[in-house]
């Protein structure tokens, strides 16, 4: 009885913490050329793809793990991880959803992501990634009609090699930093989207990541290419079971926007954050980078970071095309022993480029939060503008909030403005809300939602609701 109660309590804390009991196929433990060949082989990849991986692995061997970040973590033994794990039933890819393992369907149902298309009302095309493989992609036919390619990246490598070859690694090269290179060597699956010239994607595209197996690192790779004059809005969600040990998640996301194209990328990250004492949880070390390659292109990142034991990522924009625009909206919430070191990089290379950064950080409990960002206006980026605002909210004196912006201006015709504040919820505001009949916790929820509003507004409808609830849940127990 006691145990049961405990279980229920646990679930209340992190409702996605269940595990799906499903048979797995795994690559042998450890990291070496054979494992990479194994992954490549399982995926039936062409030679050029294997070469790409091996090149990355060569480079990886020379790299040292970075150590400049604020949240420190125990050393990861990269040989003690499984680099490939897939549900056994996926070995021969099911042709349609009816062939899918019912257990898998059940999992996604529990997560609130129905894969059965007929049940969908609001029409979001979902690519669901379970451990190392993509299990289902919905609404494919409708998208194909418009010429949009939306499929797991492993399929894209088979069916659209010319596109993948051209753009994969063009934003995050194989010679990038430690975790990005590791991903290039061992990435297993992820989503690929290509929006052809002049097409406005009729629905939101979405990937849902789920880490299930234990001792597994998840290394997915997402590549989105928006051709001239196209538009796409992309959503990403993530959850993982509760486990005592830390799990590594090192994904790469590459966005390419050509002339006049726009990509909007939204993330609600809710990986398992570890328990109250900071045990377990996901290490979320993700590399996200967008390239505004063409003129008048635009890339916009929106993120709500509530999960993970450690979040360490800087979704960036390289504004190469003239008149291109980069945006970054972020809410990061840390509670208990969570740690986050997140922010963005805006690299202005083209003329008349604009960027905007709005970052809201909230830390409670024993957590630690850092905003770290770079705004770099190169000497050729004439007439460029940046506006940055980062605000932090602290709850209690056991947590920390830090701001570390790097600002480089090499062009006299360009302007950079940066503002940052750190404060706490004022007693007056709390008092006012409580006076009107809200409990302390509700009052905090309301104030925090108001604090985050600027960012929440940027999210697509379906996500905004979820995110707003998440903000409330994440801070539960941090008041008083």
């Amino acid at each position: 009885m006691d145990n049961r109660q405990k279980e229920i309590d646990n679930l209340k804390d992190y409702k996605y913490g269940f595990t799906t009991d499903i048979e797995n196929t795994r690559a042998p433990k450890g990291l070496n050329e054979d494992v990479i060949k194994f992954i490549s082989n399982v995926k039936k990849e062409p030679q050029w793809m294997l070469d790409f991986r091996l090149k990355a692995f060569e480079r990886f061997k020379q790299l040292k793990e970075p150590n400049w970040q604020k949240p420190k973590y125990p050393k990861i033994d990269y040989q003690d991880l499984y680099y490939y794990s897939a549900p056994k039933s996926m070995k021969d890819k099911p042709k349609n959803l009816d062939d899918l393992d019912p257990k898998l369907l059940e999992t996604y149902k529990k997560l609130g992501i129905p894969l059965q298309e007929q049940k969908r009302l609001n029409g979001i095309a979902v690519d669901a990634v379970f451990d190392s493989v993509s299990v289902a992609t919905t609404f494919r036919e409708e998208l194909t009609k418009q010429g949009i390619i939306f499929c797991p990246i492993s399929e894209a490598i088979q069916n659209h090699p010319e596109l993948v070859k051209k753009y994969l690694g063009s934003v995050i090269p194989v010679t990038d930093h430690f975790f990005a290179t590791l991903n290039s060597a061992v990435f297993t699956d992820g989503s690929f989207a290509y929006i052809p010239e002049g097409v406005r994607c009729p629905m939101e595209l979405s990937t849902y990541f789920r880490i299930n197996a234990s001792n597994t690192g998840q290394f997915e790779r997402t590549l989105i290419v928006a051709d001239k004059g196209s538009y796409v809005s992309y959503l990403e969600g993530c959850t993982a079971p509760m486990r005592d040990e830390n799990q590594l998640h090192a994904a790469n996301v590459e966005l390419v926007a050509l002339d006049d194209a726009e990509i909007k990328y939204s993330t609600v990250q809710n990986w398992y954050p570890g328990d109250k004492d900071g045990k377990g949880g996901i290490y979320n070390f993700v590399t996200k980078r967008g390239l505004c390659k063409g003129k008048n292109s635009k890339i916009s990142w929106t993120q709500v970071e509530t999960g993970s034991a450690i979040t360490w990522k800087y979704p960036s924009c390289i504004l190469k095309g003239d008149n291109s625009v980069g945006e970054f909206y972020s809410i990061a919430i840390t509670n208990n022993h969570q740690k986050a070191d997140t922010g963005t990089k805006m690299i202005h290379l083209g003329k008349n480029t604009k960027s905007k950064i709005i970052s809201k950080g909230i830390s409670a409990g024993f957590s630690d939060m850092t905003y770290r960002g770079l705004v770099d206006i190169s000497s050729k980026a004439a007439n460029s503008n940046n506006y940055t605002q980062c605000d932090s909210l602290l709850m209690g004196n056991k947590c920390g909030a830090h701001t570390v912006p790097y600002i480089k201006n090499k062009n006299s015709e360009s302007n950079i403005a940066h503002e940052a504040t750190t404060s706490k919820i004022s007693e007056e505001q709390l008092h006012y809300c409580q006076q009107r009949g809200l409990s302390a916790e509700e009052a905090v929820g309301l104030i925090v939602n108001g604090f985050c509003k600027e960012v929440l507004q940027q999210l697509p409808m379906e996500f905004a609701v979820e995110a707003q609830k998440l903000v409330g849940i994440s801070l539960e127990g941090s008041v008083g």
């Binding site: 709850m395 004196n397 912006p405 006299s412 302007n415 940066h418 940052a420 504040t421 706490k424």
Partner: protein
């Protein structure tokens, strides 16, 4: 460089009367420096200014030994006119004169600390270099309740007798309860291509007030590094003003520990640069207890291919509730080759605080120029007026009227 260092070190030691133990300590610092070398961009604090490269490019090989046996003639015409003041005169790194003529003799104590090596609250390689090679070091103590009548001006003069030399200076100040000191550092260089490495330590007891004005105004080709460590007790106030303009390269670092309640620190700075100059100000304000306050304002005007860097950090530990920390840096880039880099940093562990920073950089506002020109000024005049007003803002922050006027006259800012 290692052999040069060793040789120059032996030479320096020979001319000092030190106990065996002190020599050992100095050796320890020397070894530390030999191991670390000059800081380079791989170190976070030197990310924007690679001193190793700068020295290599501008000076080449440095010599570390200076012959301090013969005295230099003190040129009295170089003294500041129209303001009565106490003096400390350094010529080529040799201390030539200490004079507190205007003060009560028993209220100020000057202690020669050359024989003892005191540890400095900094473990950078430049501090090691300084500890290994300083030959004279004084401690200036202002007694309880004494407020200096006149400001103290420290003349840092170098002349053409030295080149490619490294000069290390160190001074130690102790301000007892209710005392106050106004200190002006004035740099006058006719020498070229030297590296000057200055370390000051200030100890501020309860209710004491320190005002330090650093004026590097005159054109020269030297490379300078200056580090101020300020320890502050209850109710003490420190005010630092930096005019960073003359040298080829100059980095000012302020490390301020607000240890006592109600202590406050103010740092204001101006970069006025042209001609390939590269200057930096780095501040670290540590709020270590309740009810402390800090305020920083840094403004830059950058011409030609000059480069300014501002790294400011406000640290608030978990005990330091009710902290008030503010930081603002603004830069005007007048030429397309000029560059402004900033890293305003907040590291906060307490929740009941008010901390903010702002940073802005850009060109001169064309609308304002248009406005002034439509009132009959020509382009050049409008530009000067705007820059003048921009910088005046910082000079106006100087709380001492005498010094404010002196500095205004010196840099030709009109009201």
């Amino acid at each position: 460089m290692k052999e040069q260092l060793q040789k120059d070190f032996d030479n320096t030691i020979r001319h000092l009367t030190l106990s065996q133990k002190d020599i050992e300590i100095k050796k320890f610092y020397l070894d530390n420096f030999i191991n670390k070398g000059f800081p380079n961009r791989k170190e976070e604090d030197w990310k924007f200014s690679d001193l190793k490269q700068i020295i290599k490019k501008n000076i080449g090989e440095l010599a570390f030994y200076s012959d301090y046996t013969s005295t230099n003639k003190v040129d009295t015409s170089a003294f500041v006119d129209g303001l009565e003041h106490n003096k400390i005169v350094f010529i080529n790194g040799r201390i030539e004169k200490i004079d507190f003529d205007y003060e009560k003799k028993d209220q100020i104590e000057i202690i020669d600390q050359s024989e003892t090596i005191n540890k400095f609250n900094n473990n950078s390689s430049l501090s090691d270099l300084n500890s290994a090679f300083t030959n004279k070091s004084f401690k200036i103590v202002v007694k309880k309740g004494y407020q200096l009548l006149k400001p103290l001006i420290i003349y840092h003069t170098t002349n053409s007798k030295i080149w490619s030399k490294n000069i290390n200076l160190r001074l130690n100040f102790e301000l007892y309860e209710n005392s106050s000191l106004r200190l002006i550092d004035l740099f006058r260089d006719t020498s070229e291509k030297n590296f000057i490495n200055i370390f000051y330590n200030f100890n501020l007891k309860e209710n004491s007030i320190l005002k330090n004005y650093k004026v590097d105004k005159f054109e020269n080709k030297n490379i300078k590094y200056s580090f101020n460590n300020i320890e502050q007790d209850k109710n003490s106030v420190s005010e630092t003003f930096i005019l960073s303009s003359g040298s080829n390269f100059c980095k000012n670092e302020i490390n301020c520990n607000l240890n006592g309640k109600y202590s406050s620190a103010f740092v204001n700075g101006i970069f006025s640069l042209n001609n390939n100059k590269h200057h930096e100000i780095r501040t670290i304000i540590n709020h270590l207890t309740e009810n402390t306050k800090s305020y920083q304002l840094i403004k830059s005007v950058l011409e030609e291919s000059s480069r300014a860097v501002y790294q400011g950090k406000i640290f608030v530990n978990s005990k330091a509730q009710k902290t008030d920390g503010y930081q603002l840096s603004k830069a005007i880039l007048l030429n397309k080759d000029s560059e402004f880099n900033a890293k305003p940093e907040l590291e906060i562990y307490a929740d009941d605080v008010k901390c903010s920073h702002g940073s802005a950089s850009g060109s001169l506002n064309e609308d304002s120029i248009f406005y002034l020109m439509s009132r009959g000024l020509n382009y050049q005049q409008s530009r000067e007026l705007l820059i003048n007003g921009f910088l005046l803002d910082v000079v106006e922050k100087i709380t001492d009227p005498e010094v404010k006027n002196l500095i205004k006259n010196m840099i030709g800012i009109k009201e």
